[in-house]
Amino acid sequence: MIKKQLFKICLLISVLMIFSSCRDSGDDLIDPSHYPQTETMTGQFEAIWHGINQNYVFWEIDSIDWDEVYTKYHHRFEYLDEQETVKTEDLQKLYEEICGGLIDNHMVIILENLKAGPDEKNTYVVVNPGKLKVEKRDDLQANIPINNFVECYNKLKDDGRIEHGAGFYDGESTGGLESMFTFVVDEDILYLKPASFYVMASLGNPDAYRVYDTYIRQLLFNDNIKNVIIDLRDNGGGMLWDNITILGPLLKEPCHLLDSKTKVGTGRLDYGEWTPFIAEPTTQRQIGKLMEWKDELPDALCMADQKLVVLVNRYSGSMAEITSMGAKNLPYATVIGEQTYGATGPLTDNTHVSFSGEFGDKNLKSATYYVKTSTWLARTVAGTFVEGEGVLPDIKVTLDSEKLTNEHIDNQLEYAIDFLHEK
């Protein structure tokens, strides 16, 4: 009897052991930053597909069926591998078809055509989904050439409307800042136009230092300043830290810019939790420290009771948009201009932060591809996703390109001046 029971127990344990092997072990994943080098177009496609699969942070809101993309296009690359040569133009179209619809407007996919013919001059494919989307907008306008802006600036100067002006645009680009202008217009409006959010990184450059020093001194010490215009048109963004130089001095209290979240795992939907991106006011003491002024300033706000206008356009991207998102939440600020670019997800080149974001090799040496993509998924404080869409201004004012080119009048800037003067 006991032997029979023991036999049954052993039988059951054996059955259990068989069942215990029913757990699926899953697929092996390779770090997209260390994907093995490949010489085939199929291998290159697989590396890019897997990299986006694992490092892209917009899967929660992107409706593309990424598995279907693999199923649909894998055999097409196998076919291309069988060909002697592949035209770069055709490869460009193929990758635009594959990646052009992804909603990350920060994204850039660069790859080398591994089967370019000997006569091909261009052997590189560059796909920029954001640019493709912006170019399809109905009211698309070209960005404002800096020379046109300088002509407008000179006209204001000739008209005697400008004082305390400083700027640079033809110097060496140091720290990523190509140009920056400041002036006081019509006596009480302080204006700043940084070309990017690399102001803090560029303060080692004497030109950049001089312009920002002029601006911030006017803000702090000129009692006539009643209004501020921050011109972020054609500003493609840059460092988050430039909150310290751009938005921070214009804040009276902490400003909730947006909420963001990134991944906490390698799965497409392995998201962490939303965290707020809050810009702190930059105090006079902090400005003094940043500018290395000799006299220590009090720990007081830089902004008194001035009003603020932020100018934006189609080419205001990333931090320029994030700043305008914050400004929209300030009771004393108004965003004027056009719908922005739609690249709101913050990013870093440190993929270790969340094993998300960019992968490949920018120089196309250790890998034949490079993909730049956001590290964080972002939404507005109200919970709306504007990635791929852009931020809508409080007041829409379209640029009059003819007036700008022919009469050197910047109608968006003039509108902002009139708005602040309540005309």
């Binding site: 694992q54 921070g248 964080w376």
Partner: protein, 243 residues
């Protein structure tokens, strides 16, 4: 004025009398067929996840408690079938080596193990073995953790420090219907000892293991499957009334 302690003694006596009456009515039956009871205990969940190249994400198990209502039907002297309607706590504790990020998730499950019970020993003390399967449902979860944000401390940045701000959270978990698999099923087994206190009353201790065969995540990635499984061990103490 009524004496509360007397009331309690009276009610306890009543319960004891009731139990003895129950026992005496069926004491002469060769075998008690139906048994119903309650059980409770401590559990510890092992969360099986492959973090692949995200090597500094470290997952540890977490402890919780479990309560259940067992219903048992004796077929033979040594064989019974048993079902427990069980509340189980599972989950994990995750932390990173790279920064201060951590996440503790406490998962609450309602499970129904269906088991065969093999008993051995004398009438008073019996050892037993449970083997079977279970189905369950992931009711809800609670999250507590801390994550890196894009906010930074201005003074720290000006001092050339990183200045990153981490935000804590303590909230109910929001299920993602595309990702989270709330259906739970697997194997269950246990060993224990049962002691017959009265002819109609048994107490038992059991060590049990729930071995999940369904991933906590759905198979939503065709070419990069990443299943995650729970294995839960529980130490249970229970009491059963025999009918």
């Amino acid at each position: 004025m009524k004496d509360d302690s007397m009331d309690k003694i009276f009610s306890k006596t009543c319960i004891l009398k009731f139990l003895m009456l129950l026992a005496s009515t069926t004491a002469f039956q060769a075998q008690a067929q139906w048994k119903v009871g309650v059980e409770a205990g401590y559990d510890y969940n092992f969360y099986h996840i492959d973090t692949h190249y995200a090597y500094d994400f470290r997952y540890d198990g977490r402890s919780g408690f479990t309560v259940g209502v067992p219903v048992e039907y004796g077929i033979l002297d040594w064989l019974a079938v048993r079902a427990d309607l069980t509340y189980l706590q599972k989950g994990y504790k995750m932390h990173r080596g790279y920064n201060k990020t951590f996440q503790n998730r406490s998962d609450q499950y309602l499970s129904l193990p269906m088991m065969a019970r093999f008993s051995f020993g004398d009438d008073k003390i019996k050892g037993f073995l449970h083997v079977g399967g279970y189905v369950g449902y992931w009711l809800k979860s609670h999250l507590k953790g801390c994550e890196i944000s894009n906010s930074f401390n201005t003074d720290e940045v000006l001092n050339e420090e990183e200045g990153k701000i981490f935000y804590p959270y303590d909230k109910e978990y929001s299920f993602n219907s595309q990702r989270d698999n709330r259906f739970d099923a697997g194997l269950v087994g246990g060993v224990g000892v049962c002691y017959r206190v009265l002819p109609q009353l048994e107490v038992e201790m059991e060590g049990r293991c729930y071995y999940g065969l369904t991933s906590t995540t759905k198979n939503y990635m065709e070419y990069s499957k990443q299943p995650r499984y729970n294995t839960t061990i529980a130490i249970l103490a229970g009491i059963k009334f025999c009918f």
